[in-house]
Every structure is written in structure tokens, then in C-alpha cells.
Amino acid sequence: MPTCKCTWAAIVLAAGLTFPSLVHAHGFTGDRFFPPTIATDDPFAVDELSLPSVTAFDDPSADGIPATREVDWGFEFDKEILPHFALGISDDYISQFGRGQPSTHGWDNIQISTKYELWHNDPHETILSAGLLTDIGGSGSQAVASSFSTFIPTFYFGKGFGDLPESAGFLRPLAVTGSLGQSFPTSSDDPNQFQWAFAVEYSLPYLQQEVKDIGLPRPFKDMIPLVEFSLATDENRATKGLTTGAINPGILWETPYCQLGAEAVIPINGHSGSRIGFTFKAWIYIDDLFPKIFGHPLFGKD
């Protein structure tokens, strides 16, 4: 098996070195850069490395399991395999701290994602994508991860408002990204869910570079304030109709080689938690740091 891994690594490296052409990557549609966001998976099938992500929040009691304070440490790696088609892998290390209970720790199930960019419209800064998220049951620690798998076909979208008329100039930096997913757990105990998330962003870089230079100094001219909504509605079982989730106001900060993001996690109701949490995530621009290997599909050209 070690030989097999070395072979694959050599193939990946060789394929990367074979494509010295212009590098695209990042999430561009027209003049719009859509940054990756924390709670809402962005619609781009590009090379991305998120490391680390840290989230602390209340996990409310349910099904007789007492409420816990949970801290997740995670990562995500996505690679464009074919033009506009990417594969990803992500996981979280979960620590649960219960009141009067021993704490539990362990890796969550591995999540594999596929995503394909269906349609771009550059003048209207619009992108549509579709993909499948697969939570592999039993791949994580028995203490914190479920034993069954869940499949989530998901539709993604992004829309920038740079095509608004000049009279609406200061609204042009606005953009929305979102995802709509339908979960299918392989266990009859868990409900099917409609998972919906969207992010409303105001890009100060877009304001400065495309609309009006208002003289913002660094680091503010590289920041993107945003609000994310991450929600799930149960469709069957005992909790049919229940919607849980959080509203996350925060900020993203673009630097030449990475993006940093921090948000508050505000539960939308008592079923979603009782205290405000926080989340932090760093994305490393691997296409900038290692342009010969990343920033283009493994096979074929953009």
C-alpha cells in the first residue's frame, strides 16, 4: 500500500507540473470574487484548503441526551479533478463537554463531496452548481459520530449585484450565495431534512475596485462583512416541521495567501441552542502558494 500511495502522489505531482498554462482558480464569475464562507458551502468547484476551522456552540438536549458545549476542530480539502468538477474531503474533531458528565472526544464521520459547476454568467455575476455530500457512517469515532451514512444532493447558487444600474452604485458590492440540500439518512431513526443556507455579503474590495474608491485603508479595504443563515427543517419522524439552525454575522478578511473568517453563531430558537457560539476558519490559497500543482484541473483544461 505505501507504494500505491507514492504512485498516486507522483501522478498528482506530474499532472500538476504538466499544466503551466494560465491559472484561474479562486471563485470568480465575471469581475466578482465570491469568497468561500464558513457556514454556507460556496458554489465553486475549485482547489481549496480550509485549515483549521474551529466552532464552539451549544448542542441542545435531544432524545434524552443532555445538552453539551461542543468544540469542533476541522479541515476541508477540495481538488478540481476535471474542468468545473471537484472532489472534496472534510472532517471535524469533536469535543463535547456535558454539565456533570464526562467529556467525550473523537473524529466525526468523514464527509466526501462532489461538485460540478453547471452554469456561469459573467456579466450578471451568476453561477449555479450541483453536488452530492456523503457522510460516511461508521468512519468516525463511535463516541461522537453516527453509525449510519447520510446522502445530501445539493444545489448551489451565487449572484453578485454588480449588474445593478449606476444609480444603485453602493448596492453593487452586494452578493448572495446559497445552498439547498435534501438529506437522506440510511437510518430510519433520523429524519430527512431540507438543509438550506445562504450568505449575504458586502464586498469592500469590490466597492473599492469596481464602484468607488472611498479611501478605505488596509486592512478594511480587504474585508467582506457578511451574515450567514444555516438552517435545516425536519421533514418526517417525531420532529417533523421543526427548523433549527443559526444566524452568523461576521467578517471575512482577504490576504494575498489566505482568507480568514470569524462569525458569531446565534441559535435561531431553543432547539438550536441557548448560548451564542463562535466560529473561525482559515482558507489557504493553495493555488497561489503552489501554482504548479493547484489552481487547475488534474485532467483537462478550464
Partner: protein, 125 residues
């Protein structure tokens, strides 16, 4: 397994140490003269664009168009000889009106980016 967050932190640090010393990135517009979205009392003789990274002049362009879409620049876009992040294009005496600057650049690590902005020259009375 309880050391997994430490392991993640170690991976982050290792990745940072693997970063080449001379890394380059996408070239975005840092600022321009005339400023993005500005209104000028006096027409400019050239348009200057400063980028966040050094650029490849052979693969980089700047065009200036009037409000009818006609190209009005002198088609002499070039990199400044002393500042590799600066591109300049000359324009003739511009009449009053709105102008659009369209730029496409390739940074020295082959990433390409593009953008558009407008400026206005006040009509002389």
C-alpha cells in the same frame, strides 16, 4: 485521539513552513489614478493602475472606452519601468462624459484577473 487538535495545529505550522519564500498571488487592483468612480474637473492625460502584485506586461492590457463603447485610449499600455506593479495607458484630451476602464492582467505567477471601473470628466462650460 485527544491530541488531534494539536496534530491539526502541527499540520498548519508544517504547511506554513512549506510555503516557498518567493510566493506570489493574484494581482488585484490596489488603486488607480484617476480614482475608481471619481469625477474629474480636468481630463487626465494618462490612466495609472497600481496592482497588488507584479504583473506580466506582455499578457496584460488596459482599455479605456467612452460612454458609447468606443475605445479612446492610445493603445500604448505599458508597465512602469521602475514599478512592476504599475501599468499606464495614455489617453488623448478627453471630452466631458463617463469613461470605462477595462483591465486584464496576469501576475508573474500566471494567475490572471480582470476588472472594470468608471470615472467621469466634467463637461467644460
Amino acid at each position: 485521539m485527544k491530541n488531534s487538535p494539536t496534530a491539526l495545529a502541527a499540520i498548519c505550522i508544517t504547511l506554513l513552513l512549506m510555503v516557498p519564500a518567493n510566493v506570489l498571488a493574484h494581482a488585484f487592483l490596489d488603486h488607480a489614478d484617476p480614482k475608481v468612480g471619481s469625477v474629474l474637473a480636468k481630463p487626465p492625460s494618462e490612466i495609472k493602475l497600481w496592482f497588488t502584485q507584479e504583473i506580466e506586461p506582455d499578457f496584460s492590457t488596459i482599455e479605456v472606452h467612452d460612454s458609447h463603447g468606443n475605445r479612446v485610449d492610445k493603445q500604448d499600455a505599458h508597465q512602469d519601468s521602475s514599478d512592476k506593479k504599475l501599468m499606464i495607458v495614455s489617453v488623448p484630451a478627453l471630452a466631458g462624459g463617463e469613461y470605462t476602464v477595462v483591465w486584464k492582467v496576469v501576475s508573474t505567477d500566471t494567475h490572471h484577473t480582470h476588472g472594470t471601473f468608471k470615472f467621469t470628466v466634467k463637461t467644460q462650460n
